[in-house]
């Protein structure tokens, strides 16, 4: 049996963070009391008409520009007809054969299309299953109904679950950088479905795909695809064939179950939405979308590596959150002579660890001012304080903010710069650890640790480790 290659495409729904809904003036909200952000239009009362949200169109054009898509001179809204309580008009206004944008790319992955549509309301099915079947009653919250969405569809260019998750993260970072969405998977402002199939490695033909839904974190996305690839490989290995179907991912146990065919057997009867005119962005709107693009994560990553010498894994962590990346750049700028590489390590290493320990705030939202961190890193680099003291100062900054110089002063953390003083402490430590001293003289380098430890204890960490090592070795003639 030839090796079976994974072929994965993603369908991503991005909720836009506009002030109001796609086709009416109701405010967008998350977590408010049910059904307070509604009006005759989004409740589909008789006689109402949709009016497109200009801000949503501008946001969608930004996404199209960031994904390097071709924007259609005239795109058309269609009605997608189906009966369901989350869909009060019994049709969703979406786009069909003439979408807003086509033929883009992000990283190595091609974008098939991106279009504008409206979100459905939220249904809550009471009962154990949490699904409509077997539920005694269902509740509908129309607050979400009509939220502007951009649906992004990739070409089937992804070749593993891990690659899919990594790319989805890049997409999220890119959209977040645009400032057009909260892109929060847990809250549903970013939803990623996957089309998964396998084929004999090297084949050009696509296998039968299944569609995976309800993976509401990147980890679940990866696990869901992984599980489905394993299932398809096993099925084909046993001589079976894959059936095209939609599978629901269960985060509790990582299992996948088919959605009932009744929910799926739709003929959506698409036809052009007669209540709306074609969407024809002006040249000025297109230019504005292009020119308003910030530096995107891909370009930023390249710049951090090529111009700033930051290691790729560290740079990836930085650009994953635009606010953290901005923070890093402010620290690097303020730190003057310190290499950006070193600053990057502090931001993603010591600072991230300290913030995790303090409740998980982001660097940008923390009490540590970029200028303060820059001063601190410079002090450590210039050996004005030891690395250990640096971490202590950072902990103080995380807790209360302020000026690192003042903290060093207050805590007496300034490095011992008087070499006479340090030499006498070293001499005392050597005398106090005769066994270790003997071993170091005999060539056992590891034994030096006990003496260094004694010096550090005596100086409360205010001595430079390298200098202490040098002095001990000089003393012992090692």
């Amino acid at each position: 049996m030839a090796e079976l290659e994974a072929v994965i495409g993603l369908e991503i729904h991005v909720q836009l963070s506009t002030r109001t809904k796609m086709f009416c003036g109701c405010e967008l909200s998350f977590g408010d009391e049910p059904n307070v952000h509604t009006c005759p239009v989004c409740l589909a009362h008789p006689g109402v008409l949709p009016v497109p949200n200009e801000e949503a169109i501008r946001y969608a054009l930004k996404i199209a520009a960031a994904l390097e898509c071709e924007v259609a001179p005239r795109s058309i809204f269609h009605r997608k007809n189906y009966f369901y309580p989350d869909n009060p008009k019994a049709y969703q206004i979406s786009q069909y054969d003439l979408p807003l944008a086509v033929n883009g790319r992000l990283g190595e992955i091609r974008i098939h299309r991106a279009h504008l549509e409206e979100d459905a309301a939220k249904t809550i099915h009471l009962g154990e299953s949490g699904r409509i079947h077997g539920s005694g009653a269902s509740l509908v919250d129309f607050n979400r109904g009509g939220t502007p969405l951009v649906e992004i569809v990739t070409e089937p260019d992804l070749r593993s679950a891990a690659e899919a998750a990594t790319w989805a993260r890049l997409l999220r970072t890119t959209v977040r950088q645009l400032g057009v969405s909260d892109v929060n998977m847990e809250e549903g402002s970013l939803r990623v479905d996957a089309n998964v199939s396998v084929r004999a490695a090297g084949s050009e033909r696509l296998g039968t795909k299944t569609e995976l839904k309800n993976m509401n974190s990147f980890r679940f996305l990866e696990r869901g695809i992984e599980a489905e690839l394993a299932r398809q490989r096993e099925l084909i290995g046993a001589g079976g064939t894959v059936v095209q179907e939609t599978l629901h991912f269960h985060p509790e146990d990582g299992s996948l179950t088919p959605l009932r065919s009744k929910e799926e057997a739709h003929d959506y009867r698409y036809f052009p939405e007669p209540d709306l005119v074609p969407l024809a962005p002006t040249e000025a709107m297109l230019r504005e979308a292009r020119e308003s693009l910030p530096e995107l994560p891909e370009a930023r990553l390249r710049r951090y590596g090529e111009e700033m010498g930051v290691a790729e894994d560290v740079a990836t962590v930085l650009v994953a959150d635009p606010d953290t990346a901005d923070y890093f750049e402010r620290v690097a700028a303020a730190a003057g002579g310190v290499e950006p590489r070193v600053v990057a390590n502090w931001v993603t290493g010591e600072l991230a660890a300290a913030l995790r320990g303090d409740g998980g705030e982001s660097a940008a939202a923390s009490k540590v001012e970029p200028e303060a961190l820059a001063t601190l890193v410079a002090m450590v680099q210039e050996k004005k304080i030891s690395h250990g003291s640096g971490k202590a100062v950072l902990a103080a900054l995380v807790a209360e903010g302020g000026d690192p110089l003042a903290i060093v002063e207050r805590e007496g953390l300034a490095q011992i710069s008087d070499s006479g003083e340090l030499e006498s402490i070293v001499a005392a430590a050597v005398d106090a650890n005769p066994d270790a001293a003997e071993q170091v003289r005999a060539g056992n380098q590891k034994a030096i640790g006990a003496i260094v430890g004694a010096v550090m204890k005596e100086t409360k960490g205010r001595a430079d480790g390298g200098e202490v090592n040098r002095l001990i070795r000089a003393k012992l003639g090692a």
Binding site: A44, H45, P46, G47, V51, A90, I132, V140, D275
Partner: protein, 478 residues
């Protein structure tokens, strides 16, 4: 009191403004007239009104029950909306109120505007004021009957394929379908969104202009509305010198009642007497208008009417079962036969595998018809036809033969498909096929898009020349 009912709207406005007639007295006279409705034309009547100031100050208007009126039951002639009280008022009605008019009552109509005889109302048929054994036409049958029967000074209705013009013709009054987009559709319960247009039903052309002037204009709530550039003024033209009138060459082949043809030809002579030129023009695709219309309109209707599911407003049936049973029972009991027929037709026409053969082709025919008219208007100012192939027919005469019923719209549907304005004015009386008292015959004039002023001017000149003075009760009918 009776004398007040003889005034046209324009005359009444002038008298009220001059202080010769009191608003209260005028409104009371019409309220009393409306209370004497024996035609089943009203579904609801106002207790008070007539206080407004403006171009229509003090004028009561009868409003088709397809227009949403805040807090006042609005049923669209359907059982499914029984008891529905909208939360807002349609733009057209609001603009009438802003011009000083007030709603006198809500008029009966074919359910969801689907019909040509007003026999499809869930609230019983409307009777023709000229002969109570005959239909008033439809779907704005109630609005036409109250104006023809002196139960209202003026009315508004909607026209999707002839629903203003045909009942106006059958009731001996003026009915204008403006250009698609001239008046906002917001708050007008949708039948076929790409065709629906609001318009006035009045005693004379001047009153039609008055109502149109008040209602037209771009509405931010309706993306497809544009208004009429330069507005609309009272028509003044007294001759037709230099104007060119086209008669469709295909007209000769069609089944027109002899009496109707006689009146039509006499009217052509009057046009020539007024200095107009008459010539034949080819409109080769017009004869496919009915076929295209009865695909496009039901297709849009099948989607527009899907929202009536018993969940948010109107009646709810079958609650004991599951969601699907509730949908099905509500719709089975809430919709009438004709509405169900058209939902079935439209659903089929849009379904996967049939879309191109039906909806796609019908749209191509629609384009061809629009091109025919554009070509005709390059050489002519107007296209003229009889409004309806027959005078008012007997109640029940065509109810078992939907195709015969659909043929009533033969002359009116092409203008709807082309989106152009057309007016029907009473041109004379004719004996129906099978004998009986003489009944009114309508003469239809169509003009290029947004040429309403030109259309009203010509219709006004012709109206004066015809001098139609007959009214219900003059003959043996009434």
């Amino acid at each position: 009191m009776g004398e007040l009912l003889e005034l046209s709207v324009a005359q009444a406005v002038a008298r009220i403004e001059a202080g010769e007639v009191s608003r209260g007295e005028y409104f009371a006279a019409w309220r009393q007239a409306a209370a004497g409705d024996e035609l089943n034309a009203y579904l609801w009547r106002a207790e008070e009104g007539g206080e407004g100031e403006g171009a229509l100050g003090g004028i009561p208007v009868a409003v088709k029950d397809l227009f949403c009126t805040d807090g006042v039951e609005t049923t669209a002639g359907s059982r499914i909306l029984e008891g529905h009280r909208p939360l807002y008022t349609a733009t057209a009605v609001r603009k009438l109120a802003e011009a000083g008019a007030s709603v006198l009552g809500k008029t009966n109509m074919d359910e969801f505007a689907m019909g040509s005889s007003n026999e499809n109302s869930a609230y019983g048929p409307v009777l023709n004021p000229w002969d109570r054994e005959r239909v008033p036409g439809g779907s704005s049958g109630g609005s036409a009957a109250v104006v023809g029967g002196r139960l209202a000074p003026c009315a508004i209705g909607t026209d999707t394929g002839g629903s203003i013009r045909q009942p106006a013709a059958l009731c001996g009054i003026v009915g204008l379908k403006p250009t698609y987009g001239a008046i906002s559709r917001y708050g007008m319960i949708a039948f076929a969104s790409s065709l629906d247009q609001c318009g006035p039903l009045t005693r004379d052309v001047t009153d039609a202009a008055l109502l149109l002037a008040a209602m037209q204009g771009r509405d931010p709530c309706d993306s497809t509305s544009v208004g009429i550039e330069g507005g609309v003024e009272a028509p003044r033209r007294e001759d037709l010198a230099g104007l060119r009138f086209a008669v469709p060459a295909e007209l000769a082949h069609d089944a027109i009642e002899p009496g109707v043809r006689e009146v039509f030809e006499a009217t052509l002579k009057r046009i020539e007497e007024l200095g107009g030129e008459i010539a034949e023009a080819p409109l080769p695709h017009a004869e496919h208008g009915i076929s295209a219309y009865y695909v496009i309109a039901p297709a849009e209707a099948s989607s527009n009417l899907a929202r009536y599911d018993g969940v948010r407003y109107g009646i709810r049936k079958g609650e004991a079962g599951d969601l699907i049973e509730m949908y099905e029972t509500t719709r089975a009991e809430g919709f009438g036969e004709e509405v169900k027929r058209r939902i079935m037709l439209g659903t089929y026409a849009l379904s996967s595998g049939y879309y191109e053969a039906y909806y796609g082709r019908a749209q191509k025919v629609r384009t061809k018809i629009a091109e025919d008219y554009a070509a005709a208007f390059a050489r002519f100012d107007f296209v003229v036809t009889p409004t309806s192939p027959s005078v008012a027919f007997r109640l029940g005469e065509k109810t078992d033969d939907p195709l015969a019923m659909y043929m009533n719209d033969f002359f009116t549907v092409p203008m709807s498909l082309a989106g152009i304005p057309a007016i029907s004015i009473p041109a004379g009386l004719a004996t129906p096929n099978g004998g009986g008292p003489e009944l009114p015959v309508g003469f239809q004039i169509a003009a290029p898009a947004f040429a309403e002023q030109r259309l009203l001017d010509a219709a006004y000149a012709l109206e004066r020349a015809i001098g139609f003075e007959a009214r219900p009760g003059d003959g043996a009918g009434g």
